[in-house]
């Protein structure tokens, strides 16, 4: 597999008045096209920083970031992002929230006014695939946390990005809703086939969804282990209770414990 996303010896130091913070140090990582990658690690180890580097929001202090064969020098424009907080705009309806990226990304931006109807139908269709059929004209505050997060996923995907970046998107949800959303994400990924980098600190989430789980060390972060997940696809939630899955989670947990002790 040719790498779609590659970090090569990347170091990132935040310069601040109170002193410099090295968030990442000599991090290397590759993610293949269409691959589902998960990044796990303790809080504050630089996972969100990794996201910003890949999307081109911050330049690396040292090393090289490439996406789709080209060095990243500014915002990549091919990425959709979603975070722990759904961050929907409360003055827009759900469907208008989902449409927001199309008002910014070319070539949609140019066509948006003229073809608003068609785009809106597309957005409604996408909402229907995540179980939000008929909620398009509601306002975000009329939706539960899980529903808002579904809408946020739609907003991240509406412009058909080649790369989906998720930063702990399910961390604030209850266990049942979280598992529902794993399945929503799994189905979207299997249907559309984008590349995903999912940051999480839930090892079960990483093991259930990903092709490869990357374990990061404590700050300054770097990838210490990359573990392929060989569980057959399509996976359903039952897989989480079978021995290979349980062993995998156990092994990942061991890695993190080892690293924290060191």
């Amino acid at each position: 597999m040719t790498p779609f996303v590659a970090l090569d010896g990347v170091t990132l130091t935040y310069r601040g008045a109170a002193g410099d913070v090295t968030a990442l140090s000599g991090t290397s990582l590759t993610v293949g096209r269409g691959e589902f990658a998960a990044v796990v690690g303790p809080s504050g180890c630089g996972k969100s920083t990794l996201m910003k580097l890949v999307t081109g929001l911050v330049p690396p202090t040292e090393g090289r970031v490439t996406v789709d064969g080209a060095a990243v020098t500014g915002p990549v424009k091919i990425a959709g992002m979603a975070f722990q907080n759904p961050n929907l705009l409360p003055w827009r309806t759900v469907v208008d929230n989902v449409l927001l990226p199309l008002e910014i990304v070319e070539p949609h931006r140019r066509r948006f006014r003229a073809e608003r109807k068609r785009y809106k139908a597309e957005a409604e269709a996408l909402l229907a695939t995540v179980g939000l059929a008929g909620f398009g004209e509601r306002f975000p505050w009329e939706l539960s946390g899980g529903m808002q997060q579904r809408a946020s996923l739609c907003r991240a995907l509406i412009h058909e990005p080649a790369l989906l970046m998720l930063d702990e998107p399910f961390a604030a949800l209850d266990a049942f809703t979280r598992e529902e959303l794993w399945c929503v994400l799994r189905d979207l990924w299997e249907r559309i086939g984008f590349t995903v980098i999912l940051v999480t600190h839930d090892l079960r989430e990483a093991a259930f969804l990903a092709d490869t789980v990357h374990v990061m060390s404590a700050r300054p972060g770097r990838i210490v282990t990359s573990r392929r997940v060989e569980l057959p696809r399509p996976r359903d939630l039952e897989v989480c209770f079978e021995p290979p899955f349980v062993e995998l989670v156990h092994e990942l947990r061991g890695r993190i414990a080892e690293m924290r002790a060191a």
Binding site: K52, T55, G56, L57, P75, V76, K77, A79, M81, A82, F83, N85, N87, L89, P90, W91, L100, P101, E103, I104, V105, E106, F139, P140, W141, R155, A156, H159, M165, D167
Partner: protein, 256 residues
């Protein structure tokens, strides 16, 4: 029943206040040169309704003119200040410093520059009321969720896109909230200026009446001013509710 009682509560309180005032004046036989009873104040209002109305309208006009300038200038400066952290850090202390100057002290300067009349009143109303508008607009812009900014920047959004799509709509509840405060301040500004240097306006009327020991007329002027202030406050509170309904409905809203 309780709902309508609650809705009418301000009316009852106002009536009760006037009744208490009247009773105190009578029972303690307070000298009307110190504090006239409401009955005397209303009598003065009836007797002098023409001049009171004329001067009220002058004050309303100077206040609204100054307020309108404050809105235009306040929004413009708020956008500039909220645009970038560097500008925010640079201008903010200067603005705060300017705001701490008592505006009464500025009136004589304005009189020297523009002469006695409406212009110093308008300018004082403007100077005193633009500050909350600037601060609120800038705060609305500057407190945008950084992650939301990341989502848009990763798509290649320019600063202008982020401002028009997110920053400005997000700042609207802050702006409309500040208008209520600004309009009441504008009245303070215009009346202060009229009291010192004008030949029309409620401030002027009250200063004149005071000099002639017509205390009931002074209080009639105060009453007229209160009515104007409350009416304008109510108007902008209504505008606020109308324009930013989402901010009142969503719990995680920006506006306080």
């Amino acid at each position: 029943m309780t709902a309508s009682l609650e809705r009418l509560a301000p009316v009852w309180f106002t009536i009760a206040l006037f009744a208490l005032w009247e009773a105190s004046c009578r029972l303690l036989s307070i000298d009307p040169f110190i504090l006239p009873a409401p009955s005397e104040v209303f009598a003065a209002l009836v007797q002098y309704w023409r001049p009171v109305l004329r001067h009220s309208l002058v004050t309303l006009w100077t206040t609204m003119a100054g307020f309108a300038m404050a809105v235009v200038f306040g929004i413009a400066l708020g956008l500039v200040v909220g645009w970038s952290r560097t500008i925010y850090r640079g201008i903010y202390p200067v603005l705060v410093g300017f705001n701490t100057i008592p505006k009464v002290a500025v009136v004589p300067v304005l009189v020297i520059w523009f002469g006695i009349g409406e212009i110093p009143a308008i300018l004082t109303a403007f100077l005193i009321s633009f500050f909350p508008i600037v601060v609120n607009v800038a705060t609305g812009l500057a407190t945008m969720e950084p992650e939301l900014e990341d989502v848009l920047r990763a798509l290649g959004a320019k600063k202008l896109d982020i401002m028009t799509k997110v920053g400005i709509p997000r700042a609207l509840p802050y702006l409309f909230g500040s208008l209520k405060v600004a309009i009441t301040l504008a009245f303070v500004g215009s009346v202060v200026s009229e009291t010192i240097a004008a030949n029309a306006g409620i401030g002027f009327l009250m200063a004149q009446a005071g000099a002639n020991f017509q205390m009931p007329l002074v209080f009639a002027g105060l009453l007229a001013l209160a009515v104007e202030g409350i009416a304008m406050y109510g108007l902008f509170a209504l505008v606020e509710r109308r324009m930013t309904r989402w901010a009142f409905r969503s719990q995680g809203s920006a506006a306080a």
